[in-house]
Symmetry: C2
Subunit: 181 residues, 2 copies
């Protein structure tokens, strides 16, 4: 086994791709695709991180409103996930273009995406410049799960999530749960 | 489709589990298992984030030395990944206990793990308290890839990485690459 030295570039994988929703002051929603989202503080409180380039329209909206929703997608909407990453909400209504369905959130003004089985409403607690992205830290103020993803005990069942991962520029399905010996 | 409100807890998935290596001033190495690592600044420069509880031995070592390596594991060493998360380097030599192989790094004093196909050497640029974890930001100063994971053009081939994901407390293999229409 030989190790080859390479130039670092977005090295870690697989990452949780997500559709991030936000809204302007008039309630007009937008969606940005991110290849990764971060569980930073796990429980007390739950703080999610998202990294957005300064040039993006969602950067401007979330900076102004201090609110966003992390919506975790399914394989069924993978094409919409790619598409939302290629167009700007400055030019088009991404809900109209993709056919995704906005649902009112419980706490924030940004909508949930109905087709995403997990939605986490966040309120921004800090914005930091970190290299080529700005890191938005957001405290999770509410979480929603599509009922068909819950088992009889109310626990989220991974196999029902239809999840996929972002892996070095590609989307990959999940395979099988690994048994522990 | 009904949405059910739940208490947020480490909501996003699938995440890049990793073995983080560090070393004390005498060169004695340690390993900590993290369920997730973060690509925050993608390219200019590459900055990786890792979140560690203050009580962990690796928190102490990395705070003192300002260096760590992110080693991405394979399915073949999943048991060692679980095991390194259950024991403390204050008590045992985790390389000795797991049989994993330390390899000298190019820039930092912490070792690479031979069995991990991707190793990213990082120098700490900041440490921040974020809720129940401390976020270590580390600039990637070198990256290594096991040669058998590179294709004929020197590009990393995902299928050769043997990767798995951390998903809501479970380990899952990757399935298949999703074609784009």
């Amino acid at each position: 086994m030989t190790k080859v030295r390479v130039r670092p570039n977005r090295p870690v994988y697989p990452t949780p791709a997500a559709l991030i929703t936000c809204a302007d002051e008039a309630g007009r929603p937008n969606i940005i695709t991110l290849g990764e989202t971060f569980n930073i503080s796990i429980a007390h409180p739950v703080i999610l991180g998202i990294a957005i380039r300064k040039s993006r329209y969602s950067h401007e909206l979330i900076s102004r409103t201090g609110e966003y929703v992390v919506n975790l997608p399914t394989q069924a909407i993978a094409e919409q996930v790619w598409h939302c990453g290629r167009i700007s909400g400055r030019d088009v209504d991404k809900f109209a273009v993709t056919g995704l369905t906005p649902v009112p959130a419980a706490v924030v003004k940004a909508p949930l995406i109905a087709e995403c089985p997990i939605n986490v409403e966040c309120r921004v607690t800090a914005i930091q410049v970190i290299g080529d992205h700005d890191l938005f830290l957001g405290e999770a103020v509410a979480q929603h799960v599509n009922s068909e993803c819950l088992d009889a005990d109310g626990k989220i069942e991974v196999a029902r999530l239809g999840a996929f991962a972002f892996v070095l520029g590609e989307f990959w399905t999940l395979g099988a749960r690994m048994e522990r010996s």
